[in-house]
């Protein structure tokens, strides 16, 4: 082979290699885009929204015109309650020629999810008009998510959701959501929301049943297990303890879980276990009145009124008019055969009760 021929062959091989590499990179690029989208969808299906966004971020940055990825990113960010991020993706989606209808729906979902009733009602109407639409799941989920904080605030105020058209509407939305086909993780989440809301809405049996179903589908669903533990604590403290122990394993050091577990241990007469937990909690917050009182009550249960008194006096320093502290102090002192001191605290407690009663009566509407 002469030099010229050799050069031509080498050039040919180089050209083939270059073309091959270009083709490979193009193929890889497309495959990577498809792969990323698939992975993102898979993460979304498992409600791993942050993970999905981590996958989608580079994808939409490298290919800003991928409207499919942009819409998924917008929906995912909204479902993760990252509303600013969701709005950015949605703008980009719109600028790249995304469907106007999808933009509008997604905007309404974001509003509904943050408690906008008008947007929720609009979405609900759409779902009712086209019951089989694939996007109904996202709309109904957003509606239900928007209701949870509202219902939580009712519970925090110590109340229960009152009967009426509003509650019926909420329950209707839940029923509609549960009718829509969805993946396992989404179903578990939907059952958790439904169970929690039914419990708040005095549909206790259904609520507990749905929370149990949610846990069957997603045994590591922390919030569902916590909601179930709290829902059954009154009727079955022994079962509530099992759930709270699992939760404490899932999130070691979680204060509210540990405190609930200590309460249930004491309710079952296990003062040693309750005491250990409260000691751990008090290490983190040594002057927390609620913790001090609970620890003191454990000491009282365990027949150690002197230790109980010391804790209660610490609590009384921070909350001198706390009825629970005063009553417990009175008890601890009476058990120690110090009736005069006990009477002082009891008297103060009775005075506070009388004050509170007078206050209540003064704000009662006067009847004619």
């Amino acid at each position: 082979m002469n030099m010229l021929t050799r050069k031509r062959v080498l050039l040919g091989i180089a050209s083939i290699l270059a073309i091959g590499l270009i083709v490979l990179f193009v193929l890889l690029g497309n495959a990577q885009g498809d792969r990323l989208l698939t992975e993102a969808r898979s993460a979304v299906e498992q409600r791993e929204f942050e993970m999905a966004l981590n996958i989608l971020d580079p994808l939409v940055n490298s290919n800003t015109g991928d409207t499919e990825a942009l819409l998924l990113a917008a929906q995912t960010a909204r479902r993760a309650n990252a509303y600013a991020r969701a709005a950015k993706f949605l703008r980009s989606y719109e600028q790249n020629g995304g469907a106007r209808e999808e933009v509008r729906n997604e905007e309404r979902r974001a509003k509904a999810q943050t408690g906008d009733k008008e947007a929720a009602e609009e979405l609900m109407r759409d779902c009712e008009q086209e019951p089989g639409a694939p996007s109904n799941f996202l709309s109904l989920e957003a509606i239900v998510q928007g209701l949870v904080p509202f219902l939580d605030s009712i519970v925090a105020a110590g109340g229960r959701a009152s009967e009426g058209p509003e509650l019926q509407w909420i329950l209707g939305a839940l029923d509609a959501l549960l009718m829509v086909p969805m993946g396992t993780a989404d179903r578990a989440e939907a059952l958790y929301c439904s169970g929690k809301i039914h419990h708040i809405a005095s549909r206790h049996s259904r609520g507990v049943g749905e929370l149990r179903q949610a846990l069957e589908l997603a045994p590591h669903h922390f919030e569902a297990r916590r909601a179930l533990a709290l829902a059954i604590a009154q009727a079955s403290p022994a079962e509530a303890r099992i759930h709270l122990e699992i939760l404490a394993q899932q999130r070691p050091g979680d204060g509210p879980t540990l405190y609930s577990l200590a309460l249930v241990h004491r309710a079952l007469g296990d003062t040693a276990d309750a005491g250990k937990i409260m000691d751990e909690l008090l290490l983190a917050r040594p002057e927390d009145v609620q913790y001090l009182v609970e620890r003191a009550l454990i000491e009282l249960d365990a027949g150690r009124p002197i230790e109980s008194e010391a804790l209660l006096r610490r609590a009384a320093n921070h909350a001198p008019n706390n009825r629970e502290v005063l009553l417990a102090l009175s008890k601890a002192l009476r058990i120690q055969n110090r009736p005069a001191e006990a009477d002082q605290f009891l008297k103060r407690c009775v005075e506070l009760d009388a004050q509170s009663k007078r206050k209540m009566e003064s704000i009662k509407p006067k009847s004619k």
Binding site: E39, S42, S205, Q234, S236, T271, L327
Partner: protein, 595 residues
């Protein structure tokens, strides 16, 4: 040439392998969340736990001839608080044949065009014929004329003639029947209420007889409930899906002042309510009288619905209310409970009487441990009571040694007052048996309802409950009254399989003196047992007045010391287990075992 080709292919392969590694690396991170350990199995919320041991009770109702239902008038759909209370069970050996007879209140209904006329329904007295057969003797005993809406009853020999008399409570009426000889043979009850000046037109529920001033005659404490009437009958919305109306809570009404009557020589009852400075502060449903501070005098503990419970220390006839300072007015969170049934017993072997109270849904049933010095401590959590849950509404109740192991257990009749209760509670609820066991060196109550047989797994509207040995076999039987469903007789069959021994005591004071407030101390070979003679107790009901003491497997004879409420103490030694003994004040030799 071929080398160059190989290099080209190698580059492409590396790119593919690298791509694959990267690809599957991400996928693995999506698919495999961090393992969190196994999920524990979940027991059911409401099913009674399975307890080890033979069955303790057999429902014998159907073959006894007792077929009676307390009616509340619920079918009139008036949703009155009146229909929530239910009726009681009174055990009374009216003919002194040694067999406990059963008196049952009948309740009432609502008649008239608007169904606002309150009508009473008949009560029944069943005579115990032995061998678990009973006969309706209401008519022949003159008890067929009780025409008011009745609730409960209590028993005492108010005139000390040796025959037990009967008090019946109810809506705006209280009736005392004297047990007299029937000229035609047998016994007869005669209404002596008016004759004795026992005037009580309030809404009476539970009552307790006890000699509070030491004159030997039983005085009378009567619980009153609230000021409901059809003139004060607000509408209370259901608050649950599809429920327009529910019975109103007691908080909608004002509590009525309770009543106290001095028994003046069995000839007159004098109203001493004002003298005792009672105030209208408690919706009274349960009362028990016993010596709670070891001073020999009977004290009174009152279970109030949705108001503080009350403890009256007996200061020589003056009743001093000290519920709050004694630690028995409120629960351990400093709130009042909705209390119904009450009892007194030495659950911890301390020799001191502790207090037991059944409460409403959301409350713990309350066990107040007696620490001495007139101080009590709420012990429901420490003793396992709280493990039962708070979805029950408890009514009739009592300490009872179910298996005769020498430790007093607990029995509770349950049933809600609301047809549509919130949370996991149900309208009808199963009764509960709680066994007093040793755990980590302390006493602990465990739900053993599954050993009670099918009845204890059946939801009912339990109300009244009386404990007594109906067949004199030495094992305590139970009689349950239900709202709108038949009464149930539960025969204790523990004796068929248990080696545990028992001792029965029938105590009598000189001149048939009232014994409430007396204390009985039993010395067996290896242990001491203390029991208290009580008035009232449970809910609207009256228990066997005899003492039935489980001895476990303790062998040998036992000695019994009675600390009479009037101060004297007497001891009887060498009593054999397995029999009822008649111990009479001043008679140093115990009477022959009662067969």
């Amino acid at each position: 040439m071929s080398r160059l080709l190989l290099i080209s292919v190698g580059i492409v392969m590396c790119a593919v392998v690298g791509f694959s590694v990267w690809h599957w690396g991400i996928k693995a991170s999506v698919d495999d969340p961090e393992p969190l350990g196994p999920i524990e199995p979940k027991p059911s919320v409401l099913a009674p736990p399975k307890a080890e041991g033979p069955l303790l009770f057999r429902d014998v109702t159907s073959s006894t001839g007792v077929n009676f239902t307390y009616r509340t008038g619920e079918d009139a759909e008036q949703f009155t608080i009146l229909e929530t209370l239910g009726g009681g069970v009174v055990l009374i050996d009216f003919d002194r044949d040694g067999l406990l007879d059963i008196f049952l209140t009948g309740g009432g209904t609502f008649a008239g065009p608007k169904k606002t006329e309150i009508k009473g329904l008949p009560c029944k007295l069943y005579r115990n014929l032995g061998d678990w057969k009973f006969q309706d003797v209401t008519l022949s005993l003159g008890l067929d004329g009780i025409a008011f809406y009745s609730h409960g009853g209590s028993v005492a020999d108010f005139d000390r003639d040796g025959w037990p008399d009967l008090l019946v409570t109810g809506y705006k009426k209280l009736v005392l029947f004297r047990n007299t000889a029937n000229p035609e043979g047998g016994r007869r009850f005669v209404d002596v209420t008016e004759q004795l000046g026992l005037k009580d037109e309030s809404w009476s529920t539970s009552a307790a007889f006890a000699d509070a001033n030491g004159d030997g005659y039983p005085d009378l404490y009567v619980c009153h409930y609230v000021d409901w009437s059809f003139d004060n009958h607000p509408h209370c919305p259901g608050g649950l899906p599809g429920v327009k109306t529910q019975v109103c809570q007691p908080q909608k009404f004002k509590p009525l002042v309770h009543a106290f009557f001095w028994n003046e020589g069995g000839k007159k009852f004098r109203d001493a309510t004002a003298e005792q400075k009672f105030e209208a502060v408690g919706c009274g449903l349960g009362v028990v009288a016993a010596d709670l501070n070891d001073d020999g005098k009977p004290d009174f503990y009152v279970g109030n619905d949705a108001t503080n419970n009350q403890l009256y220390w007996n200061r020589g006839g003056r009743l001093e209310e000290r519920g709050l300072t004694s630690g028995v007015a409120l629960n351990d969170e400093g709130r009042y409970d909705g209390s119904m049934g009450v009892d007194v017993g030495d659950f911890d072997g301390s020799g001191r009487p502790s207090m037991w109270v059944t409460n409403f849904q959301g409350d713990l049933h309350a066990l107040y441990q007696n620490l001495g010095r007139e101080v009590f401590q709420h012990r429901s959590r420490f003793t396992g009571i709280a493990a039962l849950g708070q979805h029950y509404v408890g009514f009739g109740t009592g300490f009872v040694d179910l298996d005769q192991d020498g430790w007093e257990d607990l029995v509770i009749a349950n049933g809600h007052v609301l047809q549509h209760p919130v949370l996991s509670a149900t309208y009808r609820q199963r009764p509960v048996l709680m066994h007093n066991q040793e755990r980590n060196g302390r006493r602990y109550f465990v739900d053993i309802s599954s050993r009670g047989g099918p009845f204890f797994d059946t939801a009912t509207l339990g109300r009244g409950l009386a404990i007594g040995d109906l067949d004199n076999d030495g094992w305590p039987d139970l009689v349950f009254s239900h709202s709108n469903s038949p009464v149930a007789l539960m025969r204790n069959t523990g004796g068929e399989s248990s080696p545990n021994r028992w001792l029965g005591l029938h105590l009598t004071g000189k001149g048939n003196r009232c014994l409430v407030g007396s204390t009985v101390k039993i010395q067996a070979a290896n242990r001491k047992i203390t029991r208290f003679l009580k008035g009232g107790g449970s809910y609207l009901s009256n228990n066997d007045s005899r003492q039935l003491i489980g001895l476990g497997q303790d062998s040998g004879r036992v000695s019994v010391t009675v600390q009479w409420s009037w101060g004297a103490t007497e001891t009887w030694a060498g009593l054999e287990a397995g029999s009822y003994w008649k111990l009479t004040e001043g008679a140093s030799v115990a009477g022959l075992p009662v067969k």
